[in-house]
């Protein structure tokens, strides 16, 4: 039993899922679900379809080169069973996957951090420029911080003020 990769989106195909297509030149295409299969039949290039791993790798969204990829490699030669080795491998696999996962996450975070910095500077600039919309310049002169002014409660429309004039 082997877990294969979908040719279109590169996700793993578990047993009992998906379709395999064998072309006349004996090349095998495996698909994880009909979405990928239909896209393939439409002759779409996975490198241009945003949600596939191929696109993400090509456009630098996901990690491409790393030493953790070399641990997982398909070997075509059968190997004699060795209990000791197998136990070692079984212990190692979760650790390797953890390292790989953290690295991928960091790659994405690094990529997105540039945007964070930009947004911060933007915010600051906007605040500095448009503070006059919420704070009168005279108040700003007194209190130079870029915060909302302390609200001065208005004197409510008092009856007593006008009545003497009327009368």
């Amino acid at each position: 039993m082997r877990l294969e990769k979908c040719w279109f989106c590169s996700s793993t195909i578990y047993p009992g899922h998906g379709i395999q297509f064998v072309r006349n030149d004996a090349k095998i295409f495996r698909f994880c679900r009909s979405k990928c299969h239909k896209n393939f039949k439409m002759k779409r290039n996975p490198r241009k379809v945003k949600w596939t791993k191929a696109y993400r790798r090509l456009h630098g969204k996901d990690m491409t080169q790393d030493s953790t990829f070399e641990f997982e490699r398909k070997r075509n030669r059968p190997q004699r069973y060795d209990r000791i080795n197998t136990e070692k491998v079984l212990q190692a696999i979760p650790k390797i996957s953890k390292v790989k996962a953290t690295r991928e996450k960091d790659h994405i975070t690094k990529r997105l951090s540039v945007g964070r910095v930009n947004r911060r500077t933007e915010d600051r600039r906007e605040l500095e420029q448009s503070i006059s919309l919420v704070k009168a310049p005279s108040v700003l002169k007194e209190d130079a911080t870029l915060t909302l002014p302390k609200q001065k409660v208005t004197v409510s429309y008092a009856q007593t003020e006008n009545t003497p004039m009327e009368e």
Partner: protein, 680 residues
């Protein structure tokens, strides 16, 4: 092979059928459409084609008949005589001759009419010529109709003739009717000939096959022959006579010694003598049948004498190299009922045939050529020494070893035996891992995991995976340590929560401004552009100003006071001067005045609680643009009138064209009382 198998002749159609077939074929396979407007050559060709086509087809069919029926001169005399006996040679030849003539006649007709068609000058004339040609051809065929019918009968009968190979080893059985010929035939071959107590049960020749010394023999059963002059014989008897005459075979003359066939031995002997001329050069055997009823020794003197005479005749046909038991070979007894002597008869007959054939072959010229090529070489012994078989010692040892291995194999326990011991195929499942070659035999029964966490375990297999993993983890640790420094730098410039609040507020304000502007923009055409001081909706109040100012952090009380005081004082001043002057100064002031005085008037006239209520509708407010009260009242009336109809239709405005129910049931269902319902 035409020689003895006539099953391959094609069916001969009757006259009418043939005409039908060929005419319909002409109709189908030649072009059918022609118009009188075509070029004359084309018309001529069209009809000539039809005539020629028909002639060709007749020619083919008739030739087939003539060729396939056998020519009586060209086949074995046995068959030609048989056919003559059955169908009359003359009649047969005549029929075939007629067919041949018909063929020639048709060709002539076709030729003539084609020649005529070359000069046909109109469609009609060509067509008539063609019709005439085809008509004449068909008449020819109709005239030979009886011959065709006769030939068809002949063909059917010929197909059912027994396939006798005249050159094969043959045994012929003949004699009086009811003597037991067919019973004998049934006994030695697989032929199922009818055996009945009445005479002439067998009406034609029957063929069976039997084996002797790895060779196949034909056995031919004939109908019974009666003793009468040659001319009086009927067709059935003639069949057997023909067979006797032409087939080079052994002849078994059956004799019924008991007389239960209805004829005495004397009669049978008389028959024998009358046809003994036919037995020349053929090994003859006299077979005495039905000895279970009457023994040969128990015969009367006369009968015995007659039998001896027959035997003597038969002896003549025997080979000259006289055998001691020659008598045995010539006169045999048997009984088909008790089956004694049947096999003996068959064997003797076959032997005699064989001997005769071998002798003939030896006598022929061809054998010498063959004999010259045979030579059996026998080595002459050199001396008297004995030379036995010699086997080397190693071979003997190897053989002994092989035998041992064989024995071991028998003793070794197979998987199959193991399975059978433990309950059979359904119960026991063989352990396929038994013979695994592993470093440690304890590992044989391990269950190996193949998949873990969405990865294939086999892809990770590596003897030094743990070292590499350690390296990896070390690297990872270093990397993480490095990254922590970077994080701190980025977090430096962060906003305080108050600043955040301010920013949100700014954004809200901006959005509100934009929305307002958009609304204003979209309604710009329908809104009157009025300067702010004619504030119809009364939105520019001091409260609003106060709110806004305090929102910006300023103290609004002073500003409000100032506004109020100014308005009040302005109004006062103006009132006095208006009362004095009467006429206004500049428009601006009057306007101001008007507004202010109005306000004041309002304030004065109405009590506090109602100070906020609006003016009556007819009152002209300067910002609206009316000349005077009447105009405003008229305008209001017009406005209401235009809206009334729409309101009655429950429409929201001019542009409201909504139909709530597109297909009200009362309009779209039901029959009409009068008229059609083709439109709804």
């Amino acid at each position: 092979m035409v020689q003895f198998n006539f099953k391959g002749i094609t069916v001969v159609p009757s006259g009418k059928e043939m005409v039908d077939i060929i005419l319909s074929r002409t109709q189908r396979q030649t072009p059918t459409v022609v118009h009188k407007g075509y070029a004359i050559n084309r018309l001529r060709q069209f009809y000539m084609r039809k005539v020629r086509f028909t002639q060709q087809n007749f020619h083919d069919k008739l030739s087939a008949i003539v060729d396939e029926f056998p020519r009586l001169e060209g086949i074995h005399p046995f068959y030609s005589d048989l056919l003559h006996v059955l169908y009359n040679k003359d009649h047969y030849k005549l029929a075939l001759g007629q067919v041949n003539t018909a063929r020639n006649l048709i060709s002539k007709v076709a030729k003539d009419y084609v020649r005529l068609l070359k000069y046909g000058d109109s469609l009609y004339r060509c067509k008539c010529l063609k019709v005439a040609a085809l008509g004449r051809m068909c008449t020819v065929i109709k005239r030979i109709g009886p011959s065709l019918a006769y030939l068809e009968q002949v063909r059917q009968h010929m197909a059912r003739l027994p396939s006798i190979d005249p050159n094969m080893r043959t045994i012929l059985i003949c004699g009086y009717p009811n003597v037991g010929k067919s019973s004998f035939m049934n006994k030695i071959t697989r032929a199922d000939v009818d055996v009945q107590p009445y005479a002439f049960t067998t009406k034609s020749l029957f063929v069976g096959h039997t084996d002797y010394k790895y060779l196949r023999y034909q056995v031919i059963d004939t109908p019974g022959i009666l003793d009468r002059p040659f001319e009086d014989r009927n067709i059935i008897e003639m069949c057997s006579i023909t067979a006797l005459a032409h087939l080079r075979s052994a002849v078994l003359f059956f004799l019924d010694v008991s007389g239960s066939c209805g004829y005495t031995v004397a009669q049978q002997a008389a028959l024998f003598h009358s046809i003994k001329s036919l037995f020349l050069n053929k090994p003859l055997m006299v077979v005495c049948n039905k000895i279970d009823l009457q023994q040969l020794n128990a015969l009367s003197e006369d009968d015995k004498r007659l039998v001896d005479e027959m035997k003597a005749e038969a002896l003549k046909t025997l080979q000259i190299g006289g055998d001691p038991n020659a008598e045995q070979q010539v006169l045999v007894t048997m009984s088909t009922l008790t089956e004694e002597g049947v096999i003996n008869v068959k064997n003797t007959a076959c032997e005699r045939i064989l001997d005769q054939r071998v002798e003939i072959k030896m006598k022929s010229k061809k054998i010498n050529d063959c004999l010259n090529r045979f030579h059996v070489a026998m080595p002459k012994p050199r001396d008297g020494k004995e030379r036995p078989v010699c086997i080397p010692q190693q071979v003997l040892e190897q053989r002994a070893k092989d035998q041992e291995v064989e024995k071991e194999k028998e003793k070794r326990k197979l998987e199959k035996d193991l399975e059978n011991e433990n309950g059979g195929a359904g119960v026991y499942s063989a352990s396929l891992k038994k013979h695994y070659l592993l470093a440690n035999d304890e590992w044989k029964e391990d269950i190996i995991p193949e998949i873990i966490d969405g990865h294939n375990v086999a892809d990770f297999m590596d003897p030094d995976i743990l070292e590499r993993l350690e390296e990896l983890e070390r690297e990872e640790g270093l990397r993480l340590a490095g990254e922590e420094g970077d994080d701190f730098e980025i977090d430096g410039d962060n906003m305080t929560p108050e600043e955040r609040e301010a920013l949100n507020e700014i954004r809200k304000r901006k959005k509100a401004l934009i929305q307002e502007h958009r609304i204003k923009k979209s309604t710009a055409e329908s809104r009157p552009i009025v300067p702010r001081k004619f504030d119809k909706d009364r939105q520019f109040t001091t409260e609003r100003m106060g709110r806004q100012l305090s929102g910006l952090g300023l103290d609004p009380s002073k500003a409000i006071e100032r506004v109020r005081s100014r308005s009040v004082s302005r109004g006062r001043k103006r009132e006095r001067s208006v009362a004095a002057d009467g006429a206004g100064d500049d428009g601006m002031e009057i306007d101001n005045d008007g507004k202010g005085s109005n306000k004041r008037l309002r304030l004065r006239s109405v009590s506090r609680s109602r100070s906020r209520s609006r003016a009556p509708v007819e009152e002209v407010i300067p910002g609206e643009g009316f000349k005077d009260k009447e105009q405003k009242v008229k305008a209001i009336k017009l406005g209401k009138k235009s809206v009334k109809k729409r309101n009655k239709d429950a429409r929201k405005g001019e542009a409201d064209r909504v139909i709530l129910n597109m297909m009200p049931k009362h309009l779209f269902s039901g029959k009409r009382g009068i008229g059609k319902t083709s439109r709804r």
